[in-house]
């Protein structure tokens, strides 16, 4: 046990994901001994600010600083195409490509029975409601390229297809920008299996 306030901080930090007791101690000592007062104030203010100012977008479930998130409130985005992702960081990744001009839908995870996550724990119903109400013509499913992401994509595709809407799934394969040389066998093997014909 440390001095009251130090122990309080250690206890709070240990509640965070992937931070164990030892790491919590290290961070607490770092904040105590090596962080300036200004930086500490900024950190504290940033934590308070996300709780006070950031909400969840009622339409797509992305983070939102205003009423709707910045995509849903941007009239230049194409409202007829929706990209379905597992979590908000995936939106950032898709945005970085600069290739997508539609809207998003955040599921809040993927189907994973061993973690007790089924469709009811995800925002699948909300997606269907949006499709029925908002004049969407294409849904791109960009869940993660793993077993749970695949199962989720298939589940959603089966629900949406009968509605006469185009459903696509992003291709999985080699990370772009990565070197072929450094790709592991499994990723490379999958990419080879999903190979396509090219026409010159």
């Amino acid at each position: 046990m440390f001095e009251g306030p130090v122990q309080d901080l250690v206890d709070e930090l240990s509640k965070l994901p992937s931070i164990g007791g030892k790491t919590a101690q290290r961070i607490a000592f770092h904040l105590l001994l090596r962080t300036s007062r200004t930086d500490a104030d900024r950190l504290a203010a940033a934590i308070v600010a996300i709780k006070e100012q950031v909400a969840i977008c009622p339409r797509c479930f992305n983070f939102a600083a205003g009423d709707l998130c910045r995509f849903c409130s941007d009239s230049r985005r194409d409202e007829t195409v929706v990209c379905v992702v597992e979590s908000p960081p995936d939106i950032i990744a898709v945005e970085r490509t600069g290739e997508f001009r539609g809207l998003y839908h955040v599921l809040g995870g993927a189907i994973s029975p061993i973690q007790g996550i089924g469709p009811d724990e995800l925002r699948v119903r909300e997606l269907l409601d949006r499709i029925k109400a908002d004049g969407i013509v294409e849904v791109i499913i960009a869940t993660n390229p793993n077993i749970e992401g695949e199962a989720t994509a298939m589940y959603i595709a089966r629900l949406i297809e009968p509605l006469g809407i185009r459903v696509t799934r992003i291709a999985s394969g080699l990370p772009v920008g990565g070197d072929l040389e450094y790709a592991d066998e499994v990723t490379l093997g999958r990419a080879l299996e999903g190979r396509r014909e090219i026409h010159g």
Binding site: I111, S112, P113, I114, G118, I147, A151, Y155, R158, G189
Partner: protein, 368 residues
């Protein structure tokens, strides 16, 4: 590749030991409990960083010590030498040519080895799980890119079992979600069966020839292994067949909370001269079959990767008659094999050996 020198420091019952190995066949002799298997275990550790005898790394550290060290000088196929070391216990690391890595990543693939241990008899004699593990392991060794096929199936199975388990507990289920997992299990299952069949076919050609050679001319020595698909009597193991089997099994699955159809229940039917090897072959025959399977693994992996590893044969001669033992040693034309034997071997075998070592209470001495 070859191992030229092996140094042990506080590994198992060795305080300090240094062994030089030639190419060809080396034989380690000694009475029970003297440290023969420990030498093979050390080489195996360099290859895969774990042991077939224990999952607890501390148990290989010499009693009363904090860490152990295995060092070796290995030579790749082009004759280039590489120094490797593995720290176990408290000082966990790997060193390859003076570069140290506490996470041991760089050691992957530097040393390659195939092990035959007395426990391998279970592949022939034991329940189907051992044969499935053998073939799945072979799939990955022959074609590393297929590792995903094996792990994907395992993951889908785990998720599907999770869903069935909660369905059995709550007595209600979501049919659409289960349909999705059926479909995933079926496609991944089909891929797994195809990969296993492929690996089996590659290895069996070799295994049959090893078996014939070990038995010697003049006697019937027909080894066969057929993939026995549990859900598709036509044997193809197609996704459609698995879908149908799952459909038929669903009520029972929902009751028991478990996946009751799929390649996780498949087997390999091994026979010798038309008789089931598991129930009808003799102990010596079963051991010869197990050894033939391992040698087949060794040779086919070498052919696929273009580099032959070290063959480690622990206690192969027990239960084999002198003629079989001699014929087997003749087959070991491999780059380098290291054998152990408790007690003296017949002279015909010793004549084919390039170096012999005697082990007594954790001390090794080269005798020829």
């Amino acid at each position: 590749m070859l191992i030229r020198e092996l140094e042990l420091h506080n590994f198992r019952n060795y305080q300090e030991a240094e062994i030089h190995f030639p190419a060809g066949v080396s034989l380690i002799e000694g009475e029970n409990g003297q440290g023969k298997t420990n030498i093979l275990e050390a080489i195996y550790y360099l290859a895969v960083q774990h042991s077939w005898r224990t999952s607890r790394e501390e148990s290989v550290v010499r009693d009363g010590c904090e860490s152990a060290r295995i060092s070796a000088l290995v030579e790749n196929r082009r004759g280039n030498q590489v120094r490797v070391a593995l720290g176990l216990g408290k000082e966990r690391d790997a060193v390859v040519n003076n570069t140290r890595d506490p996470r041991r990543r760089q050691l992957a693939g530097v040393v390659t080895a195939t092990l035959f241990a007395p426990e391998d008899l279970e592949i022939v004699k034991g329940p189907p799980g051992g044969r499935r593990d053998f073939i799945d392991d072979l799939v990955v060794k022959l074609r590393p890119a297929k590792a995903g096929v094996v792990s994907d199936y395992a993951r889908v199975l785990k998720q599907r079992n999770g869903l069935l388990k909660s369905a059995a507990l709550t007595r209600k289920h979501d049919a659409e979600t289960l349909d999705v997992w059926d479909s995933q299990l079926a496609t991944k299952g089909e891929a797994l069966v195809a990969a296993r069949r492929n690996a089996l076919q590659t290895a069996m050609g070799v295994a049959e020839s090893v078996y014939r050679q070990a038995c010697g001319p003049g006697i019937g020595a027909e080894l066969r292994a057929e993939y026995a698909c549990s859900f598709d009597k036509s044997g193809a193991g197609s996704a459609t067949a698995l879908q149908e089997a799952l459909k038929a099994a669903r009520p029972e699955e929902l009751r028991r909370g478990l996946t009751l159809a799929g390649p996780h229940l498949d087997d390999i039917a091994i026979s010798v001269n038309g008789l089931d090897a598991r129930t009808r072959a003799s102990q010596g025959e079963q051991r010869t079959v197990a050894l033939s399977l391992r040698l087949a693994e060794h040779e086919s992996v070498a052919a696929a990767s273009g580099e032959e590893g070290i063959l480690l044969l622990d206690d192969v001669f027990s239960e084999l008659d002198p003629s079989r033992s001699r014929l087997l040693v003749e087959r070991l034309a491999s780059a380098q094999s290291i054998l152990t034997a408790a007690g003296m071997l017949p002279t015909e075998i010793r004549e084919q050996v390039s170096a012999t070592y005697s082990v007594k209470m954790g001390r090794v001495e080269q005798i020829t």
